[in-house]
Structures are given as structure tokens and as C-alpha cells.
Symmetry: C2
Subunit: 599 residues, 2 copies
């Protein structure tokens, strides 16, 4: 089946490419800030190839096109690319070329590669420069070719910025600026260019609404030891923000003028930026003006380690958010097969429960509600028009979270709706065992997610099964649901950073099993790393759990559990019961008591 709409768009792009002397054109999934989720304005890659996943890069030549995405999206991409003529390249699989290798192979000597330099990060841009140098490839990055093709493109998002009570953050802007400036000095840099949106929001204790589910505002900042210049669209600036900026000696500039301003401002000494995040286009400006010091944004690690105010607020928020999940699970299990229910309507029900919680701002990502075989797609998204009806059999995987004034949540439960096979029970139990084993980890300070990942993955690997993604990611505080640099994964690729887990870092714990065409299981809690015993052997650490929702005993096969697995599950369920009961009505509480019974 041909997808004529997409083929026409690709043909139009190729015509523009030809006009501009571009032989190959690359379209990553990014806004100007290397954000993971992007507003509709930036969804060029989806517009051109129909693949809607959150990660993917399209490369278009005159005779062929390819789409690179990661294991979370292989199944979905295959489906969405059908009939587009675009080939799927499964990243990290054997014999699959990387984007650079593909371009090295396919491009002829002296050809031209084009991309919008504002949506390609510096590290990748520089790598392309280097990898393609042998073939004298010319790189043009000053123009967004898709803009000519995409005639009904949405406008750049623009929403007034929110300036919450600073008590919410546990640290005021002066303290944060001082910490950042200390790190700049340690790097010998006199300037710092920041373009990562959640880092900017964290630093200035503000929030925005320019990206769905991410409370961030399109912005840039340039800091010196004395000055802080902040670039924001006029439509985002409120009087409250002006006062806030004045209080902290922040100079406001129009967002659109950031490039021009950076090209002409006074710069003495070197400028620090994170080449993994700053766009290639901005890097080229900075590189022209000063020595560039490539280093992680000082904000990154500071933001990742939550302070006690943030942690206390998060605990509170996670109790309420978990209660919504408990109520939802009860409602689904009770009503499935009795009232009409689809993946989408179930998600709407849960979203509604969340929206009634104090301090609710938004979802932290679009709720994933995936029934039966759909759950094998890690990031499946049901829509009102395209979703499965739920029946009292099999399982519903729901991965969801909210943004609240007090924290950002992320939780997955796979809910048993009716009879499931013995294989599914064994898989479900393996996932639960892995999640609980990682929860129970004790480790020495200095460990990174690479040391710990196998604790979650072991029950799956023991069955020759892998989930093709990391086990866990950091979670923002009223910020992006995916936050770095911490992560639990067995290998780090690309720009993923490997850092020791620090006390106060939060991280998800979400092993899973995904069997294409059959079922998908994921169980996800959020945890906070804490310091435990310190002795002659070092500083021991452990995790506190933030998420409290039952793991479905209907799919637990106690015969494949060790005594310790059973103790861990019972201990967790006892806490769920204790913490959640106060939030539930009588009927729900009675159900929870049974759902969290000791096994």
C-alpha cells in the first residue's frame, strides 16, 4: 500500500533540495534546543515520513530515504513507514549502519549534505564534518528546506511564562546563579551559553508551556560572572517575569535576536557550552567569537540532585499521583467487559483523575495505554480514532505521569483484565522480580547505572530475553519527565552520559518484556538515591521508592519466585496499602487490601 501523501511530500522536498544544490538532506527530531519532545512546529520529520515516535532521524537522498530510530520504536516505525518508500534502520542492531556510516557509504565525492543547523547538536555536526571530510562533502546548515515544503506549518509556540513562588524550589535564583558561576570559573570560562530549556527553567525558577507536557519556554541565556542575558519571545514576557528578572539582575532580550546578539556582544575569554546540546548553528557563532570550552551545562548535575524541599514536595505529589493510579486500576479491573472501554477512553479516565489533583499543571507525557499486542510497542500511543477496545482478557499497559506544582511523576503498571497465559505470568513475574531487585539494590558510592542495570535485567536475560532500552532515567522536578545525566542502563551510547549516582538523584526503574505480536509488560516506579551506611569500605547507598501502586497479583506466578522476591513484593505491597488507603473510598480500600495481600 502506497502512502501517496508522504511520497508527494518527499518529492517536494527533493525538488527544493535540487534547487538548493543539496544532494542529501537530514531531518532529526529536535527543536532549536535539543529537546526530547518537540512542539508541532518542529515535527518536520513526522511530516515528511509519517513516523511519529519521539526519536528518529530521516535522511533523504534523490533516490532513497532512511529513518533511524531505537529499539523502543522498531515495531511502530515499521508500521508507520509502510508505503512511504522510507527504509527503517534499526539503531544498534547488527549490521545496521549508523547515520554517519550510511552517509559515508552513500554520498559521492564532493556532494552536498544539508540540514537545518539549528536542530542538529554540535557534537553530531562536528562528527559529520569529520566523518565526511575524506569525501570532500560540503555541509550547508543555514536553511530549513522543509519550511518551503510544509506550507501549512503551525506557528512557533508562544505562551506566557509562569513564575511560581520560589519556596517551591528550595533554592532561589541567586543561589543557583552562584553555583553555576562557580562551575564556570572552575572550567576557566568567562561566558556560558545555555540553550537547554529545562536547564534554563531550573536556573531561573520559572516554567513555560511551549512544549506539550514539558513545562518549558523557548529561550536562551548567556551568562558571565556579572551578567545574565535571557532571550524569550515577547509574547511570553509578563509583568511578574519582568519583576522577577529585575530582582535577579537578569536582562531580557527577544528570542528571535539571540543569534544576532551572540554574534555582536562583547566577549572576553572563553565561552563554555555543552556541545552535546547546543545547536551546530549556535556553536558556529560561538566558535567564531571565542575559544569554546566543551563541558556539561553546570545546571545539569545541579538540577539532577534534588534538594530536600524538592524531595519532600515530590513525596507528597507521588502519594496523590499514585492514589490516582490505584483508583484507576480498580476502576478498570472492575468495569472492563461491563461498560464500553477502549485504550483511549481508559487513558482519558486516568488523565481526568490526575487533573483533579491539587497543583495539577499538565500530563508529563501523553498517556500510553496499550492493550494486548499493542503493549509490545514500548511507546505506543492510542488515539480516539485508532485504539483497541478493552475486553476482560489479557493485559492493559498504562505508562503515565503528571506535572504538578510539587513534582513530575512517571509510573507504569500492566493491569490484568482477565485470563492470561502461563508464559505471560512467567514474563510478568520476571519483570516484577527485576524491578524489585533493583529497588532493593545496595551499592557503593561511585556506581553508575551501568553497574546496577543487571539487577533489573537479570530475570529477563536468564530467559534469553532483553528489553531494548535502558532500565531507568532521571525525572525532572516540575520539568521534563526524562532528565539527565543519571540513568540506569547497561551500555551508554551517543550522547548518553555515565555519571555516579548521587544522593538525591531520582531515577525510574522500569524493566519490561515486549514480545512482538503477543504482549508487552512494563512495571515502573520512581526511586530516589539516598546515602546509607558509611564505613571503612566506603559510602553505601540505597534507593527510596516514591511510587505506590499495586503490582498485579493476577499475573504473578509465585512458583518462579525466590523467597527474597516474595519478601520484596510483600514488603512493597504492605507499604502501598498503608500509604494509599487514606486516599481511597471504602470500596477501593477493600479492593486494595486484597490486591496487596501477602503472597
Amino acid at each position: 500500500m502506497v502512502n501517496q501523501k508522504i511520497q508527494d511530500r518527499l518529492a517536494a522536498l527533493r525538488a527544493v533540495m535540487k534547487k538548493n544544490g543539496v544532494d542529501w538532506y537530514m531531518v532529526p527530531t529536535a527543536d532549536f534546543h535539543n529537546s526530547e519532545y518537540v512542539d508541532a512546529y518542529f515535527k518536520v520529520r513526522e511530516y515528511l515520513c509519517n513516523f511519529s515516535g519521539s526519536n528518529g532521524t530521516l535522511i533523504v537522498g534523490m533516490d532513497e530515504a532512511g529513518l533511524w530510530t531505537d529499539g523502543r520504536y522498531f515495531i511502530q516505525a515499521e508500521r508507520e513507514l509502510t508505503g512511504t518508500g522510507v527504509t527503517l534502520y534499526r539503531m544498534l542492531e547488527d549490521n545496521v549502519p549508523t547515520k554517519e556510516e550510511f552517509l559515508q557509504q552513500k554520498m559521492e565525492n564532493g556532494q552536498t549534505l544539508g540540514f537545518d543547523g539549528r536542530v542538529v547538536d554540535t557534537r553530531f555536526g562536528l562528527k559529520l564534518e569529520k566523518d565526511l571530510a575524506d569525501k570532500q562533502i560540503k555541509i550547508v546548515y543555514g536553511k530549513d528546506l522543509a519550511d518551503e515544503v510544509w506550507t501549512d506549518r503551525p506557528a512557533l509556540p508562544c505562551h506566557p511564562v509562569l513564575v511560581p513562588d520560589e519556596a517551591l524550589f528550595g533554592q532561589n535564583v541567586s543561589e543557583k546563579l552562584a553555583a553555576v558561576r562557580k562551575d564556570m570559573a572552575a572550567h576557566g570560562a568567562s561566558g556560558l551559553f545555555l540553550s537547554k530549556l529545562d536547564d534554563l527553567m531550573w536556573l531561573l525558577n520559572i516554567r513555560g508551556a511551549d512544549v506539550e507536557c514539558n513545562p518549558v519556554a523557548l529561550s536562551y541565556a548567556y551568562l558571565t560572572q556579572d551578567e545574565c542575558h535571557f532571550f524569550l519571545q515577547d509574547g511570553e514576557v509578563t509583568d511578574v517575569l519582568k519583576a522577577h528578572a529585575a530582582k535577579y539582575h537578569i536582562t531580557l532580550h527577544p528570542y528571535e535576536e539571540a543569534a544576532e546578539w551572540m554574534e555582536s556582544c562583547a566577549i572576553t575569554g572563553s565561552v563554555m557550552c555543552d556541545e552535546g546540546n547546543v545547536s551546530y548553528a549556535f556553536y558556529k557563532i560561538l566558535e567564531n567569537r571565542a575559544e569554546v570550552v566543551d563541558a556539561a551545562n553546570p545546571t545539569e548535575l545541579l538540577k539532577a540532585v534534588k534538594n530536600e524541599t524538592e524531595l519532600a514536595n515530590m513525596q507528597e505529589v507521588y502519594l496523590k499521583d499514585s492514589a490516582a493510579v490505584c483508583k484507576f486500576i480498580y476502576w478498570v479491573k472492575k468495569n472492563v467487559g461491563k461498560i464500553p472501554m477502549t485504550e483511549y477512553s481508559a487513558a482519558m479516565y486516568l488523565d481526568h483523575l490526575r487533573s483533579e489533583i491539587d497543583g495539577y499543571l499538565d500530563l508529563s507525557f501523553p498517556t500510553i495505554s496499550a492493550y494486548g499486542t499493542n503493549a509490545a510497542m514500548m511507546h505506543y500511543e492510542a488515539t480516539e480514532d485508532n485504539c483497541a477496545a478493552l475486553a476482560p482478557e489479557g493485559m492493559l499497559l498504562v505508562d503515565s505521569g503528571g506535572q504538578y506544582l510539587g513534582g513530575t511523576t512517571d509510573v507504569t503498571r500492566t493491569i490484568v483484565l482477565g485470563p492470561v497465559s502461563q508464559t505471560i505470568k512467567e514474563h510478568y513475574t520476571a519483570v516484577a522480580k527485576g524491578m524489585l531487585q533493583l529497588t532493593d539494590a545496595k551499592f557503593l558510592y561511585g556506581c553508575t547505572g551501568r553497574n546496577l542495570d543487571i539487577l533489573a535485567r537479570q530475570p529477563m536475560w536468564d530467559q534469553n530475553i532483553d528489553y531494548k532500552c535502558g532500565t531507568g532515567h532521571g525525572v525532572g522536578y516540575i520539568l521534563n519527565v526524562h532528565e539527565g545525566p543519571q540513568g540506569i542502563r547497561w551500555r551508554f551510547t551517543g550522547n548518553q552520559k555515565e555519571v555516579p549516582i548521587e544522593a538525591g538523584m531520582d531515577v525510574t526503574n522500569e524493566p519490561g518484556i515486549y514480545i512482538e505480536g503477543s504482549h508487552g509488560i512494563r512495571i515502573e516506579n520512581v526511586m530516589v538515591a539516598r546515602n546509607g551506611v558509611k564505613n571503612g569500605d566506603g559510602q553505601f547507598m540505597y534507593f527510596d521508592t516514591l511510587t505506590w501502586a499495586p503490582i498485579d497479583l493476577d499475573a504473578i506466578d509465585v512458583s518462579v519466585m525466590e523467597r527474597k522476591d516474595i519478601e520484596r513484593l510483600n514488603r512493597y505491597h504492605a507499604q502501598v496499602r498503608e500509604k494509599m488507603t487514606p486516599y481511597l473510598n471504602e470500596e477501593e480500600a477493600a479492593w486494595l487490601k486484597e490486591a496487596t495481600r501477602a503472597i
Copy 2:
């Protein structure tokens, strides 16, 4: 108590330093080849400070001296340094400066640092250059100052080289040279300078006897695509070696002339060497002559992955070696308290059993036989004059191995001689659980020892206890008992390389618990990585065990074991019984049956 002998030697060294204009002098533990174990000739550091461990660096200033060593040796070093005036610096502990940091702090502007450039590896030499540049420190590396002090220094070792039947190696020298040259070409290097002794022996299918327990000969090689120059002391060259060299077009040169030859030979293009291994003195020669390509010796990875001939021979050898260990355990347990027995005499008994095995060449390291509190010192060595008597109580830790024509072994068992405390039983069981959990690991190709380490360490970390060393190291084939690049450890420091575990790599599995002043427990098997199932999720791998000796059930507390732990132990013991019984007499077999009973 003052150690006058050592203080006199340090005073003599300081006099020589003064005469040579050297303010600080550094003495690492190394021969000219960065070998881990060194011949008596090279034991300068021990001569100067009395610390006899296998790893340690002495730094001597005019008014103070320091010794840096790792966690294995803290207890031993503290004891041996008593009265010497030398301060112990515990590497990797909090607030302990590294050697570089120490020198940066202590050295004054414009002072001179001295060391013998032949016994310092390039990477460390270059790091010192860089770290001390700010203070305009002068580095002199052309002279071995200790030589003047050490008047009764032993001669450089020199023993005829052994040229075994090449069938033993599964690959002839031509094949090995071809593989190495392929890697040189891939690195764009026209020359390769090799100084690592086990790499040289592996490449040329020869063995030596210049280092106790390491079947290596002091030598260097310089390879091009067409030539192979091999530098060896005249006293080591036999007619058989001459014929072997002629067969493979290897040109022999005197060992003493290697530096001079490298200074004047024809070199076109770049020269490859491993800066982590090649001495700073040789690097300075190479650097003067050509562009240096820093890369791992091509021999390193080739040598680490054992071929099927080697693996088959190793399996055979490990059966016989394990049988000696079984006989030894039986003998110790039966006779302790009945006949006079010391740590030393027990070790001699075991060494004798090994010496009677077909193809025995040597021990693979001096047998560690450590009773009671002595076992808390990871690398304790009892001597005839200084050893504890064994009694029917507590435990004897024996870490030992042999060199055979067919493989190198390494095994540790902690043997219960009589009543032990409940704490010891819990510790012993934790160590056994960790060892068996790692044995049972299933993992995806791409994992390194960093991913797997926690499987062995988890039972200890769960009790806030750590063993301050890696969990496992590669083992040579009729070569050094410690071999890289593979290793199982949770963090990699210094020159330790982190590489994926490849099928055919062997590695030890030796978790432990060491409680100073109380007890030490280590259980060690050698394993070989193998490919398991390959499916859409990747290439799964697992370990085969090579070592077969009972884990002492007298210290196992079944109440702290999970069902899976019990299954693993019983499964291993059933295999020990099956494989070892044919090697034992009736009495021994009856004991083994009981010692490996299912619990």
C-alpha cells in the same frame, strides 16, 4: 620500633639523590616490561621500604617518604612499613592523594623529580610531565639511583628459552604474526614495538623462566610488515630457538642492545606501541624517531581469547589441578590437630601435589596459605620462618595455582578446620552465593566486567561489606596468572581497560570478605565465556566453569540462601563429585561424596 636497616637504606638513597640533584625520587614496582611480578633484581621498592606486596610505589623526598598501594595490601603494608618512617597512602580511599597529587602538593617550583625511566610506563610518565608542568618540575629518568645504594643486588635473570611443540598452541607463529600485522595495518602503523613479556611469548610460541611463576623471558620485539626483530639475552638463546627463529624469519638481537638498535634502525612511517605498557625510556626513543600511535598491543586481545586447542588443554589441566586441590583439602581437614601443620607446611604439601601432575612447570604464583586472622590480608604470604600453626578451629584460606604444559591455573578455597562463628558462616555463605550467582550469569554480548561485577558483590554489599579489589581477572595460557584486558570489576582505574567479554576469554570469579583482625574468606573459580542463544535481542553469553573443588559445607548457612542459591551450589557440587571422583582414592572419594552432598 625503628626499622634501622630500612632507614639506613633510605638515608643512603637520599645521599645519592642529593649528589644527582634529585629532590624527589620515585620507585614503582616494575621491571623494564611493566610486568606485574618481577624478579629479585627489580625489587628495588621492597629493598628500600620493606613492603613486599606485588603492587606499590615508593616516593622519597628529603624529609619524608610515602608508599602507595591498593586495598589488597593495606593491612600487610601497615605491618611491613612499621618503623621505616614511610607513610602508607591507601589508594582510592577518601582524602588520600594520588601519587601525582602528592607530588603536585609537595614539590616546590623548579625542583627535580627522578625515576628510572625503564621501570615507569609511558602513560604515567607523560601524566607526570603534564601534572608537574605548572611548577616547572624537571624530570630526570636516565639513571637508576637505587643501583648505587643496593650493593648486593642480584643479577638480571637469564634462563634458556623453551620452545614447546607448536601443537600445544593451536596456532603457529606465522598465523599469529599475520593477525598482529593486520591490526598494525588497521592502525596505519608500519612498525610495532612490543615490550610486554607475556605478549612476546604468546606471539612467538615460546616460554621463558626469568620471572618467578611467570614463564616469560626478558625480551623486546620490533615488527614491521616484513620483519620481526627479537631482543634476548645471549644466555637465553638455544639452538632450538635459533631454528625456530629461522623458520619464522625472526632476527635475533642481544637484549642489552635493544635501546641502541631502536635509536638507529631504519623507520619509515609511524610506530605503534601501548603507552600503558612501554616504558617511558623507550617511548622517549620512539617519539624521537617517528610518529607514535598509541594503541593496545594487537597481541593483547588475540592472546586473551583462547582458541579451542587451548581451551581443550585447559579443561584437561584444570581437572588434574582441581584434583590436587581436592586431595589437599581432604588431607588438611583430616590431619589438622593430629599432625604438626603450619600455613607454610600445608602450602608445601599442596605445591608438592601439583608438582607431580603431568606437564608441571612451576607454580603460577607463590601459594597463599593464610590461617585465621592472616586471611584478612588478601595477598598474605607465609614463610617457613614466619607462619602460623594450624589448629582444628577457624579457617585456612588457600589461593594457589600451577603452570603446566596445557594451561595456567588459579583457584582459592577457604577450608574450615574446626568450629567457626555464626558471623563467619554468614560471611562464608555470602561469598559462595556471590561466586555462584556470577557463575550463573547470562548476559548479552557487549557486556563488560563492569556490568557483571555486582552479581558477585551483591551479597556482600547487602551487608554493607565490600572487598576492595576486582572480582576477576583474565588468566594466561601457560602464561601470567593475571592477564588482560578482560576483568570483572565495578570500576576501572588507572590503566585498567574495559573491554566486552568475548567468547573464549577466561576469567576468575573470586569474591571475598576480609575482616581485619578476624577472618578472611575467598572462593575462586576460573570460568570461560561462551556464546549461548543468539536471537533478535542479540547474542546471549554464559560462563563455563573450569575449576572443580568443593565449597566447604561446614561454613554454609543454608538459612540465608535462596532456593536458587541452593540449587546452584548443589549443581556445582554434583559436577565436582562426578569429575573429581576418578582422580581420587577410595578414602578421598568417600570424603568428597560427603563434602559435595546436596543440601
